[in-house]
């Protein structure tokens, strides 16, 4: 950079040469520029000659004058390989379109490796109007840039994590009741991100029953600084019902007042459904286990009572008793053996219900099965002058084991006739209906009724009888219950003494 050239370009307000001169000549200007930590540079567009200010050199860890005065060599040696192309592109764009030249690049320092700098500049024309040189400045932005990169990475990680975990964050400014959601919450609600949420509408997405819970939790969190962590169901904007986990933590100011509520909101639908399914299987298994235990108990008890009597009679038989007495005792032994056989038949029947896994379900018509049951009991019905009504119109058929339905009808109907009220003719009403996913049947009579306060847990037990009735065997309702439960249903009883009995059966 010769003095001659300097004069040639003297017309520029701040040319390299002018700058060079002033830089050192004017102490104040020099100090000012150096104190801003800004390095200056100049580049001759024609021959790629360059000048680097003392601060520029210092920023890169060099002495003033130690840097090559060629812009080409600067690009080659000092600019990070990945940043070369963007830098050259920015430069060419600037020359072509005068677009602002400002770019972040990594420059190789003498001792600290690459550091981030922001370089900006402007091309100036010569006396002929041709762009001949660029003057610019660099600032060390390494710390800021690294923080930015770190932040971006963290943000990326968080976003990815949130996306994978289906979890979003939210904040409620309690003073203004302003609610802010992260992107994921919008996604969970299946709402567009351009709407701004508010507490009331956010709560309105919760399903009835859960809405009251979340409402109370939010209000308690604000009023009493009480955190919450709940698993509830929402109906999304698109109408999907899903399980979410919502957690809220109050942020408390120095007066102990909740000023902000923060929390997470997570879609836990898949896991929750799995959990619920598991619980269902567990309940089913527990139920089955309970029935098996109950059965083992029944077997033990019922066989014991017969074997006990048998032993009793055999012992007496061995005593010194008369021939007539021996006949009596033998008669008893015979009747014990008969009841033993009956009991074993009953137990077999129960075992069959419990173990017949491949029960064949067929569409069964309630009316025809009910009518054939009435035919079986016809003489009984006539004798007792029973009035029997039915209405299967709202649910005329069911997929069921036909023999079970016949047996259920037969047991209930014969029970109603057997335990009719002595003062009135039996009146029996049987109906079916469909509710949500289940088929129900109700069976109601006006008979003797059962005192459920006393007998509630025994009604469906084996060999449980409640009335002094010689033909009561206490097996019917036990079998009925087993048949119903083995197909996943349940049976409930309501009864009042001298008024009647009503069974409500969930068939499937």
């Amino acid at each position: 950079m010769s003095e001659e050239k300097d004069t040639a370009f003297g017309m520029f307000p701040i040319g390299l040469q002018a700058l060079n001169q002033h830089y050192f000549a004017n102490k104040q200007l020099h100090n000012l520029i150096e104190s801003t930590n800004t390095g200056l540079w100049e580049r001759n567009i024609e021959d790629q000659q360059a000048w680097w200010s003392p601060k520029f050199c210092e920023l890169l860890g060099y002495e003033y004058g130690a840097l090559d005065t060629s812009y080409t060599s600067f690009i080659d040696k000092l600019v990070h390989p990945e940043d070369k192309k963007p830098l050259v592109d920015a430069y060419q764009n600037h020359l072509k379109t005068q677009s602002p030249y400002k770019i972040e690049v990594r420059l190789l320092t003498k001792e600290e490796g690459y550091r981030w700098f922001e370089t900006s500049g402007k091309a100036w024309p010569d006396e002929n109007g041709k762009l001949s040189r660029m003057i610019g400045a660099v600032v060390d932005i390494d710390q800021k840039k690294r923080n930015e990169i770190k932040l971006k990475r963290n943000e990326f990680l968080l976003n990815e994590t949130n996306k994978i975990a289906n979890v979003g964050g939210w904040e409620l400014d309690v003073v203004n009741m302003e609610l802010t959601w992260s992107k994921e919450i919008y996604e969970i609600y299946e709402l567009p991100t351009n709407i701004s949420p508010d507490v009331d509408s956010a709560i309105s997405f919760f399903e009835p029953g859960y809405r009251e819970i979340i409402s109370a939790a939010v209000s308690d969190a604000i009023k009493f600084c009480k955190p919450y962590d709940l698993e509830l169901q929402i109906r999304t904007a698109k109408g999907n019902i899903i399980w979410v986990r919502t957690k809220g933590i109050p942020i408390i100011d120095s007066n102990g007042e909740c000023i902000t509520l923060r929390g997470i909101f997570q879609n836990i639908n898949e896991n929750k459904l799995k959990e619920l399914n598991l619980q269902k299987s567990l309940d089913l298994l527990g139920d089955h286990n309970r029935r098996l235990q109950n059965f083992a108990h029944i077997v033990s008890h019922n066989l014991r009572s017969h074997s006990g009597n048998l032993q009793f009679m055999v012992n007496i038989f061995a005593e010194n008793i008369s021939a007539a007495e021996k006949d009596e005792v033998f008669g008893n032994i015979r009747s014990i053996s008969e009841s033993l056989a009956t009991t074993i038949d009953h137990l077999n029947e129960i075992v069959k219900i419990q173990t017949e896994i491949s029960k064949e379900l067929k569409p069964v018509d309630f009316e025809s099965v009910f009518k054939s049951t009435q035919n079986v009991l016809d003489s009984n019905i006539r004798r007792t002058r029973a009035m029997i009504c039915y209405d299967f119109s709202s649910c005329p058929t069911i997929n069921y084991v036909p023999a079970y339905l016949e047996s259920i009808f037969l047991n209930l109907l014969s029970n109603s006739l057997k335990y009719r009220h002595p003062d009135r003719n039996p009146k029996i009403i049987c109906e079916t209906y469909f509710d949500k996913e289940h088929t129900y049947m109700t069976f109601e009579d006006n008979g003797l009724g059962i005192d459920l306060e006393k007998h509630k847990d025994k009604v469906f037990g084996m060999y449980r009888t409640f009335h002094q009735n010689t033909n009561a065997k206490g097996i019917g309702l036990f079998i009925t219950r087993n048949q119903i439960e083995s197909l996943g249903g349940s049976i409930q009883i309501e009864s009042a003494v001298n008024v009647g009995t009503k069974f409500t059966i969930k068939l499937t």
Binding site: F312, N315, N332
Partner: protein, 135 residues
């Protein structure tokens, strides 16, 4: 108080007729008591006990079954506790059942008016023993 009779009056409350037959026979064979009354459920027994006309025939020992229709053994004990003050006699009650369910055994032993719980069938030795205890 009644004057003590040489033989105790026995009452059996059970719906199992064969068992009652056996018990009766055994008592006769062992000459434990000539007086035996039988009821087929708890309610029949309570009705008898609370009837003032029967105050001279109250039993000394009751053998009480658990599972019975109309009023079972537990129901009988509930009613018995209530009417006990009206009865001018100490009555020894044994609960006798074929149930070996520990819940039943514990429940019976938890009732202070039940002297013991006996599992069916009653052996002759046990029967003799129970009469001695009730003495």
């Amino acid at each position: 108080m009644m004057t003590a009779t040489p033989f105790k009056t026995v009452c059996v409350i059970d719906d199992d007729k064969i068992y009652i037959y056996g018990l009766k026979k055994l008592i006769t064979i062992k000459e434990l008591s000539p007086n035996l009354m039988e009821f087929y459920n708890g309610k029949e027994a309570i009705d008898f006990l609370i009837n003032p006309e029967n105050q001279n025939q109250l039993p000394d020992i009751i053998f009480l079954d658990i599972n019975m229709p109309v009023m079972d053994g537990w129901g009988f004990m509930e009613s018995f506790v209530k009417i006990k003050p009206q009865l001018g006699k100490k009555i020894t009650i044994y609960m006798v059942s074929s149930s070996i369910n520990q819940d039943d055994i514990n429940r019976a032993k938890g009732i202070s008016d039940v002297t013991d719980y006996v599992i069916k069938p009653i052996s002759q030795d046990t029967l003799v023993e129970l009469f001695k205890v009730a003495a």
